[in-house]
Symmetry: C2
Subunit: 301 residues, 2 copies
Amino acid sequence: MLLDSLIEKATREGTNTVAVAAAEDVEVIEAILDAVNRNLARFILFGDQNKIKSLLEMKKYDDRGNNLLKIVHTNSTIDSAELAVKAVFQKEADVLMKGNLPTNFILKAVLNKEFGLRTGNVLSHVAFFEVPGFERFTIVTDAAMNIAPDLQQKAQIINNAVSLAKCIGIETPKVAPLAAVEVVNPAMQATVDAASLTMMNKRGQIPGCIVDGPLALDNAVSALAAEHKGIQSEVAGQADILLVPTIDVGNVLYKSLIYFAKAKVGAVIAGAKAPIVLTSRADSAESKLYSLALALCCVTK
Amino acid sequence: MLLDSLIEKATREGTNTVAVAAAEDVEVIEAILDAVNRNLARFILFGDQNKIKSLLEMKKYDDRGNNLLKIVHTNSTIDSAELAVKAVFQKEADVLMKGNLPTNFILKAVLNKEFGLRTGNVLSHVAFFEVPGFERFTIVTDAAMNIAPDLQQKAQIINNAVSLAKCIGIETPKVAPLAAVEVVNPAMQATVDAASLTMMNKRGQIPGCIVDGPLALDNAVSALAAEHKGIQSEVAGQADILLVPTIDVGNVLYKSLIYFAKAKVGAVIAGAKAPIVLTSRADSAESKLYSLALALCCVTK
């Protein structure tokens, strides 16, 4: 329901263009064709022209004259990454998507000083989960990019997630910096950083949201658990964004949601000039489509 | 099913005795009476005699002449903690249980050099989860005691969990030291420690189990996810014990399982001379009973 509404929203937003680096991959092509069939976006496919064409033939793609797919031949995956990034830099495309190439190839192009997509902000991974039994998105950040962000990086990671949340209609997102306990303990950096982030928000240094932490996960998402602990907080029990202290925490939370809680997810890299879709082989086709839809909802022109 | 089988097993094991520190608490008394009604154990209730008696009356407890409850009056909660620990030390009781007192009060008594329950091993929290859709226990350690264990402490935490797993019939538990990735990355201490723990197991330094890490959570619990990544491992996809690198990771995993995946749990503190049940107010009555059953299954005489 929640993630499906992103697909509807992305369709309504009008036709954006996605630049795909190294599109010569059957699963990537499947996700792209799924998106094209839903009129979600136009695509520029950078990569090996022959391989891309034969994959499209294999999937019986029929253009029907609407020209939603354009192929640009490149001689190497590095070229495909650079050209895809340049297409976004030159505003020929609105979203960058990773195909069949290593993540560091595409990130290197994104960080290129001449034609890259950096804004000065930290790049961070933002995942929108639809968890069975929960009526709102559970947004987890950063489960995949930043290993052990410092306080300033955590503030930017919050900013990135808040921007995305606003794009999909969450006006003033509630942000819970997570820790193992809800009290400040000098031996636990996550709790100390959470306290600082809360005050940075109160002093206007992290605008557009309400930050309140440290909170343990139960207090962040369950009003009953927060009440049990006697926690007074505008965020407790109703957090939109869960800020994890490290990638170790984020990765376990992400995978626990998928494998144990049977949640669905769409995710993008935020903080660059355009949303970046970094799907991996392990992602389901559905998840790839949700990530694309999320990115398309968050295009700013 | 899994956790209910622990209750059956504990009943079959014969009558052990539980020493309860500061039993004067309605929820603790409820858990105890639930256990007594199932003939799970005898209890020695240390604490304020009048309060305990009135709680038992309130709950309409009928002794029926089987003397499963004994009350020992103490003048303070510190006394109740010390006397409960002494009862275990003197082998009058087999399991220690926390009632209505701060955790550090009972741990201080447990660590007392004269009559405490230390063995030289690290004390660690071991949680047995029954996750919907999973046919085996998912054992998580340590989600509650050790903030950031070093390599040696992690080895002992594994030992403690392996002992408990064996008690409940898992002959050679498979242990996955978790990290955000399944490759060794010098910038991620969890991956480095996981590699060392794996080799410590291979060299006989962590006996009685199979350790293989680093593994990300998906590779640890899903054979399909491990196959996707091409991971060859005796543990991948079938881990019994998930070793988390820090309390931050453990706490989020624990609470994600409860609040998102609707799992049930029983947990004890291991590594002392006897299992210790440290339930908290936030635990359900059911969870308290499972923790008691788990502790009773793991009594060694």
